[in-house]
């Protein structure tokens, strides 16, 4: 009986903080019917914003997945001086505000920045163009895969890998056939979180992109844009699509996971 108050508090909190706002978006999106919703979503600039968001995510997610796994292996398996420092630095993007990240990139790649000069001399546009948006997104979504994989690797231990080595497998084969399958759920979970973060990134990208409609505007930037221009239907519509994407990803995760746990 004593558990009930706790449950009510937990559920109430979830409802108020998480589900309420989400439900509100669903409700307001369909407020004026499907017609205006469709019109705002099929706007070429909106379509471009979604495409750009997906392209940026499609570059940032694989990069951070590979980095995350390599980084986790380095932190857990290789005892090298400074491993603790690496471990701490990986968390940096969680601690630093995305706006600060954006600003630092701005300074770095700007006309007077350390790298900006070189890129400008070679005619490569970084700021106010997709490259800076990819860099900003990679930065803010960096920790998730490593954070998921590190504890799983620790728990896994090294015995299975050692067994594979004594059975004649080299390091590469051992990684693909033993290590990776053993940590795959942590990797998948990390990828989902990274993807969600990439799709939802706002602050850092807002600073470096220049927010040019139809050119350097991602979906989240477009929401803000539409809202500021009193295009509420558009703002709600894009938000709806973003919210649906996240929910679909989460549902897909929960559907996959039980199969694995039954087996283990």
């Amino acid at each position: 009986m004593r558990r009930y108050p706790l449950r009510v508090i937990a559920l109430g909190y979830l409802l108020l903080v998480l589900l309420g706002p989400l439900a509100m978006i669903f409700w307001r999106s369909f407020d004026e019917g499907l017609g205006p919703l469709w019109t705002s979503l099929s706007d070429p600039n909106t379509v471009h914003a979604f495409t750009l968001t997906l392209i940026v995510a499609a570059i940032a997610v694989p990069l951070n997945t590979i980095f995350g796994v390599v980084c986790a292996l380095a932190i857990v398996r290789r005892r090298f001086p400074g491993a603790g420092l690496v471990n701490a630095i990986v968390d940096l993007p969680l601690a630093v505000s995305p706006v600060v990240v954006g600003l630092s990139l701005f300074l770095l790649y700007g006309r007077t920045g350390w790298f900006g000069h070189w890129f400008q001399a070679h005619g490569i546009q970084i700021l106010f163009a997709p490259p800076s948006m990819v860099i900003a997104t990679v930065f803010v979504s960096l920790p998730f895969v490593a954070r998921e994989v590190v504890p799983t690797l620790r728990e896994l231990g090294t015995e299975q890998e050692q067994a594979a080595r004594t059975l004649g497998a080299n390091g590469w084969t051992t990684f693909w056939r033993i290590t990776l399958p053993s940590i795959r759920w942590a990797v998948i979970y990390g990828v989902v979180l990274t993807t969600a973060r990439c799709l939802g990134e706002y602050g850092a990208v807002a600073v470096v992109s220049g927010r040019v409609e139809g050119q350097t505007e991602t979906a989240t930037l477009r929401v803000q844009d539409a809202y500021e221009n009193f295009d509420l239907a558009g703002a709600y519509g894009i938000s709806l699509v973003l919210a649906v994407l996240s929910v679909v990803v989460l549902i897909a995760m929960t559907c996959f996971k039980p199969n694995q746990e039954e087996r283990a």
Binding site: Q160, Q162, A163, T166, L167, G168, A169, S182, R263, A264
Partner: protein, 317 residues
């Protein structure tokens, strides 16, 4: 394949795990590395397998230097205490792993895996996952996996340590039989002297990173090299300046010039065997092993004063 360990030392931080250890293991033998925890026996086994690198010293496998060889090139089978089962693979895939790495033909792999499943009595378990097996079954699977590529040396690190007493006894016997059949050079690590004596032809007793004695089970028991071996292998009492086994003490009710007076503190009945704990007048405690008949004939009970005569003593200088 013979194994030669020559002057191997290994240090982990401040801890000297191995202190210039040399051991020869004859080809085709069944050898136990016996010692208390921290004696370096597992480290030695892992160095032979290539899972650890020695700080100094050499490892020779079949006469050629293998010190710098990586584990996958040594051709040794290794069995871990906690099985190290590949959890995401079926029993069949676990056993086939070493063969697949060697790119053997599919039908050959299938045949060999079936053979091994039969050998370790896991027919019908091939499609299960390790989590669906008992500890004993998992360890048998791990053995089959290690045996699959036909290693020239089989190394087992406390293979039965995590199993209950009954399964242990079964697997010991099974390991003996397996060795008799395959004649593969086998080295296993154990802290259980009974296990070492029961299974091995040759026992290497280790303590604090050093080898104390290498001998057959009987020689080890009858002529231990030093006090450590005496007390670690089998039961032993300190008896004045010498050592004596509990069954080498005769209990009498009357004194003579070769007896020592002692007080019985406790009598424990273990089926046929009876164990009596005694204390001498100089305060030294010791255990005597008697038969039930003897105990009844002498009517031994705690609180009684008896006279004890050692029939066989060992003195170390």
């Amino acid at each position: 394949m013979s194994i030669v360990v020559h002057n191997v030392s290994k240090r982990f931080g401040d801890f000297q795990a191995l202190d210039s250890v040399s051991v020869d293991v004859a080809s085709g033998s069944l050898t136990a590395l016996l010692g208390p925890s921290g004696s370096g026996k597992s480290t030695l086994l892992r160095i032979v397998a290539g899972l650890e690198t020695p700080d100094t010293g050499d490892i020779l496998l079949a006469g050629s230097d293998a010190t710098e060889l990586s584990p996958q090139k040594r051709g040794v089978g290794f069995v871990f205490q906690h099985y190290a089962a590949f959890k995401h693979m079926t029993v069949r895939d676990n056993i086939a792993f070493g063969l697949e790495i060697r790119k053997r033909p599919k039908d050959e792999i299938r045949r060999r895996v079936n053979e091994l499943l039969e050998l370790v009595q896991l027919q019908g378990f091939g499609d299960r996952f390790p989590a669906q097996l008992s500890g004993g079954q998992r360890q048998r699977m791990a053995l089959a996996r290690a045996l699959a590529p036909e290693p020239k040396v089989l190394l087992l690190d406390e293979p039965f340590g995590a199993l209950d007493a009954r399964v242990r006894a079964e697997l010991r016997l099974w390991l003996r039989r397996l060795h008799a059949e395959t004649q593969t050079t086998t080295v296993f690590v154990t802290h259980d002297q009974e296990e070492a004596m029961e299974v091995a032809d040759s026992v290497v007793v280790m303590n604090r990173g050093r080898v104390e004695q290498v001998a057959g089970p009987r020689e080890l028991y009858d002529t231990p090299a030093n006090e450590f071996v005496m007390s670690f292998v089998g039961q032993a009492n300190r008896f004045g300046p010498s050592w004596v086994r509990p069954h080498d003490l005769r209990v009498r009710l009357t004194p003579d010039e070769s007896t020592h007076e002692a007080l019985i503190e406790r009598v424990t009945h273990l089926g046929f065997e009876v164990r009596a704990e005694l204390v001498r007048d100089d305060g030294e405690r010791f255990t005597v092993q008697l038969t039930r008949d003897e105990t009844e004939r002498l009517e031994l009970a705690s609180g009684q004063i008896v006279y004890v005569e050692p029939t066989r003593e060992t003195t170390f200088t």
